[in-house]
């Protein structure tokens, strides 16, 4: 971006922040929306949305736009609020005065301080109201002899009814000779000299030419802008004010009006209607046949029907899609007719509003809603499938089961939330060498992918214990390599594997990133040591270590996944405390059914995560302690 352009934009920023500092952007916007809604007769919410959209379209912050809207809608009302707003504007301009413009002309570098005329014109194009940018013409000794208008806002109108681009290139000396040497001329000179803005209100322009109103009252503001002056003016005669306001309302509401006299054939379009149809006002209004031809064929039936009802005397209110240039606009037309005693239509008055943005937003919203619905449905389906899969591959025994020398119970608490059914698994079986292998594990993630990985691990463990080894460290090393080699998306998991020798009562275990077992003896529970071992699926080359313990009759061992103790608002130790307390109580109570009692009392800590618990106790004598229970050989 060129330097001067940046300077200009920073000036605008400056004004904007000053306005915002004075009155919060929110309240400005609220006020503007309220006023606008009152004028246009729409809902405040709509006016609010509209202002935001307009600001976005013009690439501006909403607050200064709102301030401008308020200024326009309240111009001349003279209420306290009006004065307050004026003070806001004054304050903004003072800020500018305190910090001299960054584009003061610099010696030898003319380009530095100069604002390109096209930049000014671009900005003025987006400003409502009358503004022009004049550049001084200097005489031989450097004195200002004239001012040339180089840019003008589209709504700028002078006393002779010249507008917008027609003002560009005009010489003040030639077009308004009366002004030369007068108060406005002097104000121009002063602003040019010291950079401080001036305001003349009221300023009365006296014309001497035929066809031009003899006197017109204005408020004129003069600001220095680059090498020229930005002149902003408002007409004070009531009729013009009304016209200004109407134009402003049309522009803000994106609505234009038209009048079709069916007797004389005369058609009148407002400026905004030309803008909506992107037509040069010089070409005059579009004939009805031509504007009808722009309607999309799909909407033709709608138009014909509305026209028929209109002919029968009903008011017209229809929204049709119209191709304007290479865009399709949604135009709402509300029309009424002046009819004679026989019902013949004499004149049609209509308002056309461009509701494209609203229609587009509505369509986008519907699309998003549809996607959400589909997403929800597919989530629900996936959850059902994952839950079924889990049922199939991970049947949970309802009652405690006996394995050689060990009695155990399993509990699985699925996550509460639908999409969170996950990858917790357990394993409990005796191997050909009469060792009992117990395991619990937790696959990262949830849903189908986790359930699949869980199935993979569980089946692999079953196969390995039969064919390869029952050494917990080696089993984990195999499972780790399996997950690392898995092509599935970043599968990782944690697990603990324990082997119990019923002859020696030795328990040996290894873990992969998993909480260690809990061990309870005589009312006292501890976390067993965690031999080294990172989680599964991270690094194929890691080795796992083991630890061991001799179990005694009455001991309890608990293997669990972290849903039992992990909670995002508590530490692991805090989560563990209630579990340990429960184990201690059950151990002390000396229940005949300690496992059933234990599992019925344990509650998962984390509703986001599923939990799997395996509780075991050594059987003192396989012959007397409930022999012949069902085996789990999965």
């Amino acid at each position: 971006m060129a330097e001067p352009q940046q300077a200009y934009l920073s000036l605008i920023d400056e004004i904007r922040s000053a306005v915002e500092a004075e009155a919060g952007p929110r309240s400005l916007l609220d006020r503007a929306a309220g006023l606008l809604a009152g004028r246009v007769g729409c809902r405040v919410r709509e006016a609010y949305t509209y202002l935001l959209r307009l600001a976005a379209e013009q690439g501006r912050e909403p607050a200064p736009l709102a301030a401008e809207v308020i200024a326009v809608l309240e111009a001349g009302v003279g209420t306290g609020d009006d004065r307050r707003l004026r003070s806001v504007v004054d304050e903004a301009l003072r800020t500018r005065r305190r910090t001299p413009p960054a584009f003061r002309p610099a010696d030898g570098a003319p380009a530095e301080g100069e604002v390109p005329v096209r930049v000014v014109q671009t900005v003025l194009d987006s400003l409502p109201g009358g503004h022009s940018w004049v550049v001084p013409v200097r005489g031989g000794s450097g004195e200002v002899v004239d001012y040339l208008t180089e840019a003008a806002s589209p709504e700028a109108v002078d006393t002779a009814d010249r507008r917008g681009a027609h003002l560009i290139g005009m010489s003040l000396r030639e077009s308004y000779p009366n002004l030369v040497g007068g108060p406005l001329w002097q104000a121009y000179g002063q602003v040019l000299a010291d950079g401080a803005p001036r305001e003349l209100r009221p300023f009365t322009f006296r014309a001497q030419r035929p066809g031009v109103p003899a006197q017109t009252a204005y408020s004129v503001r003069v600001n220095r802008l680059g090498q020229g002056l930005l002149i902003s003016w408002t007409r004070h005669d009531p009729e013009a004010q009304l016209g200004d306001r109407l134009a402003q309302t049309e522009r803000l509401g994106n609505l234009g009006w038209g009048e079709w006299d069916l007797v004389t054939g005369r058609v009148n379009w407002s400026e905004q209607l030309y803008r909506i149809y992107e037509r040069d006002p010089a070409d005059g209004p579009l004939p009805s046949e031509e504007s009808n031809a722009m309607i999309l064929p799909e909407d033709e039936a709608l138009r014909v029907e509305a026209a028929a009802r209109f002919a029968e005397g009903e008011a017209l209110d229809v929204t049709l899609r119209v191709r304007v240039g290479d865009r399709v606009k949604h135009l709402r037309t509300v029309a009424d007719a002046l009819r004679d005693a026989t019902g013949r239509t004499l004149k049609v008055y209509g308002i056309v509003q461009d509701v494209t943005a609203r229609e587009t937003a509505r369509a986008q919203l519907a699309e998003v809603e549809r996607e959400l619905r589909e997403h929800r449905e597919s989530l629900a389906a996936e959850h059902r499938l994952a839950a079924q899969l889990q049922q199939i591959i991970l049947p949970i025994p309802e009652a405690p089961i006996n394995l050689p020398g060990l009695r155990l119970a399993v509990k699985y608490l699925p996550a509460e939330r639908a999409s969170r059914v996950g990858g917790d698994w357990y394993h409990a079986a005796h191997s050909p060498d009469c060792q009992v292998v117990l395991a619990v594990g937790d696959v990262a993630g949830h849903g189908l992918q986790a359930a699949t990985t869980m199935a993979q691990l569980r089946h692999a463990l079953s196969a390995l214990t039969v064919t390869t080894t029952t050494d917990p460290a080696l089993l984990l090393a195999h499972l780790n390599r399996l997950l690392c080699a898995s092509t599935a998306v970043a599968s990782t998991g944690t697990a603990i594997v324990a082997r119990y020798d019923p002859d020696t009562r030795a328990l040996i275990w290894a873990q992969a990133g998993h909480p260690p077992p809990l061990h309870t003896r005589a009312g006292h529970t501890v976390e067993l040591p965690r031999p080294r071992g990172p989680l599964l699926g991270a690094d194929p080359d890691v080795a796992y270590e083991t630890a061991s313990l001799m179990l005694e009759p009455g001991d309890l061992i608990l293997l669990y996944t972290d849903g039992l103790v992990e909670h995002r608002d508590r530490s692991l130790q805090q989560g563990l405390a209630p579990v340990i307390a429960t184990l201690n109580e059950i151990s002390l109570a000396g229940s005949a059914q300690p496992l059933a009692a234990l599992l019925s009392r344990l509650r998962r800590a984390n509703p986001d995560d599923d939990t799997c618990i395996v509780a075991a106790r050594p059987l003192v004598d396989a012959g007397t302690d409930n022999p012949g229970g069902p085996d789990d050989r999965s």
């Binding site: 969170r420 937790d442 696959v443 990262a444 993630g445 949830h446 970043a490 990782t492 944690t494 992969a512 990133g513 998993h514 909480p515 965690r530 080294r532 071992g533 990172p534 989680l535 699926g537 991270a538 690094d539 890691v542 992990e566 995002r568 530490s571 692991l572 986001d608 995560d609």
Partner: protein, 118 residues
């Protein structure tokens, strides 16, 4: 607050800053952001800042592992710094602290070649 931002430094270190709760709700896009950045920048070292992380679930742990794998693939160093005590607990329990250096919180290392931390 975005859960992740990426800051490639002039000295070839890619700073990855994680924030808030990294869990199943945001792990996928965060992982994507990290691996994309590693692929694009091809840094000599990846440093993951956990100072502002309050919670990691297993999916959040997965983000760290995927980051580690991506770094290993291009032979970049990988380290993690500034976990709060709870997150540090998780890194220890999952054994991640055995797979890559975990540094305590502190002022970011001055610009310069990354030192192998232990």
């Amino acid at each position: 607050m975005t859960p992740v931002s990426i800051d490639p430094r002039d000295d070839g270190v890619l700073d990855v800053i994680l924030r808030g709760e990294i869990d199943y709700t945001n792990a996928a896009p965060v992982t994507q952001t990290v691996t994309d950045a590693v692929d694009r920048v091809r840094p000599v070292a990846v440093r993951v800042d956990l100072t502002e992380v309050t919670f990691l679930d297993s999916s959040g742990i997965g983000v760290l592992i995927t980051g580690m794998k991506a770094a290993r693939e291009i032979a970049a160093e990988y380290r993690v710094r500034g976990p709060n005590p709870k997150v540090l607990d998780q890194l220890r329990i999952t054994g991640l602290a055995e797979l890559f250096p975990v540094e305590p919180a502190g002022p970011p290392a001055a610009a310069g070649p990354p030192a192998a931390a232990g």
